[in-house]
Every structure is written in structure tokens, then in C-alpha cells.
């Protein structure tokens, strides 16, 4: 019984995923690109970096990168918590 419920859930989610993939804009020609166009046009002037991706990662979306660094920090703290010595 449990197996069939899981299978049904899996099929529904798979259907969703495939449908979204088929429905997406054609590969290689994004429909809208105004935000990205802004980055490509202005990153050199505003951030003065040649690498647009880095200027997004550390400047325009720097807060995400802080989150990402935090995630890594958290994972390391978590792993060292798991393998801590129990006797001081």
C-alpha cells in the first residue's frame, strides 16, 4: 500500500517536472533578459570588474554569498559537532 502511494506521488511530481521542462522557453533563447542585460552593460562601470559573474556574486548579490559562506561555515561546525570528543 505504502509503495503505491509513494509511486503515485513520484509520478505526479515527475509529471510536473517534465511538463515544466517542455513548457519552458526554447533552449538558447531566453524570453526576457532585462535584469541580466543591466549586469552585462553596467558591471564594468559600477563594480569595475571584468568578470561579470564575480561582480554579481560579490557585489550585486553579495548577500547571497554571505549566506553561502554561512552555509559552509554551518556545515563545518555541524560536522565538527558530530565528530567531537565526548570527554574533555
Amino acid at each position: 500500500m505504502r509503495k503505491y502511494v509513494l509511486l503515485a506521488a513520484l509520478l505526479i511530481v515527475s509529471g510536473f517536472m517534465l511538463l515544466s521542462a517542455v513548457d519552458m522557453h526554447p533552449f538558447g533563447s531566453p524570453e526576457k533578459e532585462d535584469m541580466d542585460k543591466y549586469f552585462i552593460d553596467n558591471a564594468q562601470e559600477e563594480v569595475s570588474a571584468n568578470n561579470v559573474v564575480t561582480s554579481i556574486v560579490f557585489d550585486y548579490r553579495g548577500f547571497d554569498t554571505l549566506g553561502e559562506a554561512t552555509v559552509l561555515f554551518t556545515a563545518v561546525v555541524g560536522v565538527s559537532l558530530i565528530f567531537r570528543r565526548l570527554i574533555k
Binding site: Q44, E45, N51, T54, F58, A69, L72, I82
Partner: protein, 153 residues
């Protein structure tokens, strides 16, 4: 500990892996790559040494406590740089185009790239690179420690 062939190749490769990793961190704002990628490359060097020499030898070379200290320092440096911009806004790039450290303006359009540009980006790359190499290094060491202790029992 692995065979002599593996150890010799590790000895040769390790320094070039380190240099390659630091190169990637340093040129993060000009070429593909950056702090995370470079840090991961350096950490893979640590993993290589760990595999070649075994946990018992390596733990004397890289102290876990030192690595976690380094990681905290990297994280603090990163968020500290973000806080330094708070005169304007959090994460404001206060060094870009200022003429000071990393403050040269970039030529707009096609250019070969100048290392002395992009304001706080290189500093952040270094902070993140330090953090990632210490973090991933200590994860690898800790996991090796965890598995080794399991074998003893």
C-alpha cells in the same frame, strides 16, 4: 598510507595544486573562478595528501583547531568587509573606483584586465578562499577522523 608511487606523485603535485588554487583566488575578478573555486582546489590538495599519507601522519601537519580558527577568521573578514561599507549600505563596494587599494577604474569594453581593480571584490575573494580552504580541509580531516575511530572499535 598508500604506496611510494602515490606519495611521490603527491609530493610533486601538491605544490602545483596550491599555486593553481591561489592563482584562481587571486584572479577571481578577471578570469573564471574566485574564492570558492580556488579554495576548493586547495582543499582538494589537502584531501590528496590525506589519502596518500593516511590520517595519522597528516593530523600532525594540519591541526584541526588551527583550521577552524582560520575558518572563523575568514568568515569574520568577509562579513567585516561587508560591515565596513555600512557608511553607505551593507555590502557597499566602497573601494571601487576610489583610486586607493584595488581602486583603479576599469577600461570599459574590451581589455586584458588589470589586477588592481574592482574594489573590495579581491579582498572578499581572499576572505572566502581562506574560509573555504580551511572549511573543506577540516571537513575532510574530520570525516577521516570519524571513519578511523570506527575502525578501531
Amino acid at each position: 598510507m598508500m604506496s611510494k608511487i602515490v606519495r611521490t606523485i603527491t609530493n610533486i603535485l601538491y605544490s602545483s595544486i596550491l599555486i593553481f588554487g591561489f592563482y584562481i583566488i587571486m584572479h577571481g575578478h578577471l578570469t573564471p573562478g574566485g574564492g570558492f573555486q580556488g579554495g576548493a582546489v586547495v582543499a582538494s590538495g589537502i584531501a590528496l595528501v590525506l589519502i596518500a599519507y593516511g590520517y595519522d601522519t597528516v593530523r600532525n601537519w594540519f591541526k584541526k583547531s588551527n583550521l577552524s580558527f582560520l575558518e572563523s577568521i575568514g568568515a569574520l573578514a568577509f562579513i567585516g568587509i561587508a560591515f565596513l561599507g555600512i557608511g553607505t549600505t551593507f555590502f557597499y563596494n566602497f573601494l571601487a573606483n576610489s583610486g586607493g587599494l584595488f581602486g583603479d577604474p576599469t577600461v570599459i569594453g574590451i581589455n586584458p584586465g588589470n589586477l588592481d581593480t574592482s574594489g573590495v571584490l579581491p579582498l572578499m575573494n581572499w576572505a572566502v578562499g581562506l574560509k573555504v580552504l580551511a572549511g573543506l580541509g577540516s571537513v575532510v580531516l574530520l570525516m577521516a577522523y570519524g571513519i578511523r575511530k570506527g575502525d578501531e572499535e
